[in-house]
Symmetry: C2
C-alpha cells in the first residue's frame, strides 16, 4: 500500500510507524501533529515518520490506511474530521482500549462508509506514553483484538488482519461488548485500583514515611499507577457500565475479606487466599 | 558467638542460615524441624544448616542467638516453648511482619526474660516461600526494622543490630504500633487487594477467557497474590486493627472513583489519577 496516515503518534501510533518503516509496509508514513501535543519534527528527522501532514484533507483522501491512535475521547472528533474526505478504498482503524463506544461513534460519523472501519485493540500497553516511548517489536506475539460488525467489508477486515500480522501480532476476534467486559476486569479495574492504592497513601499524614518503606510488593503493584491520567480518564468514562459493575464487585470482595478478618475466621480467610494464590501460580506458569 | 538456633527455616530463616554460614558468624547453625513442614535433611546435606535439633531444650539452653522465623501465628507458642530453658546470655529475635502483637506475646511469655527479646522485621519479603527460596544477599541494603521497648537490654539490642548489619541490612528503629500502621498501608493492604483482584476474576463465569487475555498490567499487579496464604492469613489477623481501618479507607477511595465515573466528572477524575501518577513516578525515580 502507498500511504499510512497516523493520528496520535504516541506509544502505539509511534510503534506502528517504526515497525512499518522497518518492514517497508508503506511508501509513506505521515503523522498528524496534535495541537498542543509533543512536536513531531524530531520524529521526522529520525525517520519514524516521513513527514507531518500539512494538508490534512488531501492526506486523508490519498491515504490507503488510516490509524487513529489518540486517547479514546478524541476518536469521535477525528472520525468526524475524516468522514467527508474518506476515499472508498481507504481502511480506517483505531487502537482504543474500549470498543463498544468507538464502534458506535464510527457508525454514527462514517455512516455509509462504516464498512471501511475496523475496531482494533492491540494488547501492548505500557505505563510509558508519548512518541519517545515507541519501540520496535512492541506488537511481537501480542494479541490484537478485532471487533468487526456485520457491516464490515470482509476484504478490508482481511487487509487489517494482514497489517497486524505483518507487525508481529496474533489476531483474535470478538464482539465489542464482550471485549469491553473482559478488559474492564483484567485491565481497567487493575489500573483504577492501582491509582486508589497510591491515593490511599497520598491521603495519609505520613505519606513520605510510607513511601520510604514501600518495598517491591508496592513497586509492582503500583507500576501501572504511573500510566497516563488522560488516557485512563477517557477509558474510565468510555467503559463506564462494565467498570462500575466491576468496581461494585471489587468492593464486595474487600468487604468479604474485612468481615473474615473482623470475625477472625482464619480457616475461611486462608481458603480465600489459597484460591487466589493457586490461580495466580497456575497462570504465571503459562504466561 | 557459638550457636544460632533457627525456628522456621524458610525464605527468611533459610537466608539467615546461608548468609551467616558464608560469613562464619556462628560456630554452629541449628535448624528446628517443623512437624509436617518441609524436611530439613537436604539442607543439612547442602550445608545451609549444620544440623537439625534433636534435643530442643538443650539446644535452646546452649544457644547464643535464637531466630524465630515461622509464620506469625506460631510465634506465641514458640516463645512459650523456649521461655523455661532460655539462658540469661541468649538473645531472642523474631522476623514477623507485625510487631505490636508479637511484642505483647513476648512480654507475656518471656516475663522477666523479656529484656532478652528484640522484635525485628527485615523488609526482604518475596512471594516465594519455603527453605528452597532462601538465598544469599537477601538482606543486602534492605531495611531491617527493630522495635525495642523500654525493658529491652541495650547490650542485646546492640548485638542484634550488629547481627543484621553483618547480614547486610540497614537498621531502622520505630515503635511497634507505628510499624504496624505503616506496614498495613504499604504492604498488607496491597497483598489483600491482589488476592481480591484474582478472586474477582475467579468469581466470574468466564475466568479462563479473562486469564487468557490478562497482560503485563495484571501480571505485576497480581504477583503478590502468589504469596503464602498461611502467612497472609496470620498477618491479616495479627494486624487486624490497622488493616480493617485501611480496608475501610480503600473502599472509600474506590467509591470516590466510582462516583466520579458515574457523574462523568472527567476533570476531577483526571486530577485524581494525576495525583497518583505524579507520586508514583516521583517514587520510582528514587527507588
Amino acid at each position: 500500500m502507498n500511504n499510512l496516515l497516523i493520528f496520535g503518534v504516541g506509544l502505539i501510533g509511534g510503534s506502528i510507524a517504526l515497525e512499518s518503516q522497518k518492514k517497508q509496509m508503506f511508501n509513506q508514513v505521515i503523522g498528524v501533529q496534535r495541537e498542543g501535543g509533543t512536536s513531531l519534527s524530531s520524529f521526522v528527522s529520525n525517520g519514524m515518520i516521513d513527514r507531518i501532514s500539512e494538508d490534512l484533507n488531501k492526506d486523508i483522501k490519498q491515504a490507503d490506511f488510516i490509524v487513529i491512535a489518540t486517547p479514546v475521547a478524541q476518536i469521535e472528533n477525528i472520525l468526524k474530521i475524516i468522514a467527508p474526505s474518506l476515499s472508498q478504498r481507504t481502511i480506517v482503524i483505531d487502537v482504543g482500549s474500549t470498543k463498544s463506544n468507538i464502534m458506535h461513534f464510527a457508525k454514527k460519523e462514517l455512516k455509509e462508509k462504516f464498512s471501511q472501519f475496523v475496531g482494533c485493540h492491540p494488547i501492548a500497553g505500557s505505563e510509558q506514553h508519548g512518541p519517545s516511548a515507541a519501540k520496535i517489536n512492541l506488537f511481537k506475539n501480542r494479541d490484537i483484538i478485532l471487533t468487526p460488525e456485520n457491516e464490515t467489508d470482509p476484504n478490508k477486515l482481511e487487509l487489517t488482519s494482514k497489517f497486524w500480522k505483518d507487525l508481529g501480532g496474533i489476531i483474535k476476534t470478538m464482539r465489542p461488548l464482550e471485549h469491553d467486559q473482559i478488559f474492564s476486569t483484567i485491565s481497567h479495574i487493575p489500573h483504577l485500583i492501582a491509582y486508589n492504592m497510591v491515593n490511599l497513601i497520598a491521603g495519609k499524614s505520613n505519606t513520605d514515611t510510607l513511601l520510604k518503606f514501600a518495598a517491591s510488593g508496592f513497586k509492582d503493584f503500583s507500576r501501572i499507577a504511573g500510566s497516563s491520567p488522560e488516557v485512563w480518564k477517557d477509558i474510565s468514562l468510555a467503559n463506564k457500565v462494565a467498570i462500575l459493575n466491576d468496581l461494585d464487585l471489587f468492593v464486595k470482595e474487600i468487604n468479604k475479606t474485612a468481615l473474615l478478618i473482623k470475625n477472625e475466621d482464619y480457616i475461611a480467610l486462608e481458603k480465600y487466599f489459597d484460591v487466589a494464590s493457586k490461580i495466580r501460580k497456575n497462570w504465571s506458569e503459562k504466561n
